[in-house]
Assembly symmetry: C2
Homo-oligomer: 196 residues x 2
């Protein structure tokens, strides 16, 4: 009985968070009101507070769920066998996949994190910084092993991360182009630029 109660609560929280991600993406965190969110969910605004403690907590929930997924995948890639270049390809394809399949949440994590409250803001930025550092280390490993051209590893990581993030602008054109062509063209462009 207690178990069911808990499960039902967390499910409803996830329903709210899903609506919140869409709303925050479209209007931005600050411009989204709890009354709008309540309407999207189908309840009155005060009822939301039976499932969440604040508007801010919703943003935390969304941002850290996204951050965890990226971190988890990177750990997997790091621990896998294979050459560096195929690890980089795997990480690029995962980013593209996340952009296409969890668009609202990834968008919110990318654009609205600045509205996180401390200590969550610091934690989030620290996680992101650590993520970038691990990617730089991966690229440097590829350079040392002569798999990649000798270039500034940080700039390369910046370029790759930015490019895949740019799929935000993709949404409008989703129907006009095949996903596989998108993914392969992008991977090819990004890898050919750094391959030896």
């Amino acid at each position: 009985m207690a178990k069911i109660h808990t499960r039902k609560n967390s499910t409803q929280k996830e329903v709210i968070a899903k609506s919140a991600a869409l709303l925050f993406k479209v209007k931005g965190f600050k411009a989204s009101s709890m009354r709008e969110l309540a309407e999207a969910v189908g309840v009155e605004a005060p009822s939301l507070y039976n499932h969440i403690s604040s508007k801010s907590e919703l943003l935390q929930f969304i941002c850290f769920k996204v951050a965890d997924k990226f971190t988890t995948h990177l750990s997997m890639v790091e621990n896998s066998s294979g050459i560096v270049i195929s690890k980089i390809e795997s990480f690029i394809r995962f980013h593209i996949c996340m952009m296409l399949e969890n668009f609202d949440e990834v968008f919110v994590a990318n654009h609205e994190w600045k509205h996180l409250q401390e200590p969550f803001l610091h934690d989030f930025l620290s996680q992101r910084h650590n993520y970038e550092k691990r990617l730089v280390a991966l690229v440097e490993k590829g350079i040392n092993k002569k798999e990649l051209k000798k270039q500034n590893a940080y700039v390369i990581v910046l370029t790759i991360l930015s490019s895949v993030r740019g799929l935000e602008f993709w949404e409008r054109h989703k129907k006009n182009i095949n996903r596989q062509i998108l993914e392969d063209t992008m991977v090819d462009h990004l890898l050919n630029g750094i391959l030896k």
Copy 2:
């Protein structure tokens, strides 16, 4: 006398817009209050309305100033002589330059345009769409002339635009790396990925 009055007004409006760009960048448009802006400028909030008509007008002013600069430069590139690849290089370097020298305004135009009111929102998006279309045409011309690999031109434009926009994340690290290295590494990475 009338001339001086006009000039003084427009100057003060530009001072306000400059402070607004910084504020909107740091806190976002919706989270920035006119009282904060007034404090940054050094007056009381109602005094701002002697120089601007609304908070929204400030956002328009910033966004369209940026859009105009990009459009103007692209026209120049299109009308210049030379091979396509050097036109693309010129456009990449101009974007990098804008990111580094008009960071606040470009950031706001990139992130806060969604808060523009109609009909300005429609106008802005239409300008941006037109800009992208002209870039796609340029890349396609390069492909037809066999200067570039045969690939989907839109994905290439998307990748390049996103990469240079990614310099937003650069600011934090400005002091740690030489600007010329940044620019050259990025141009090299992006061009080598599409060169034949």
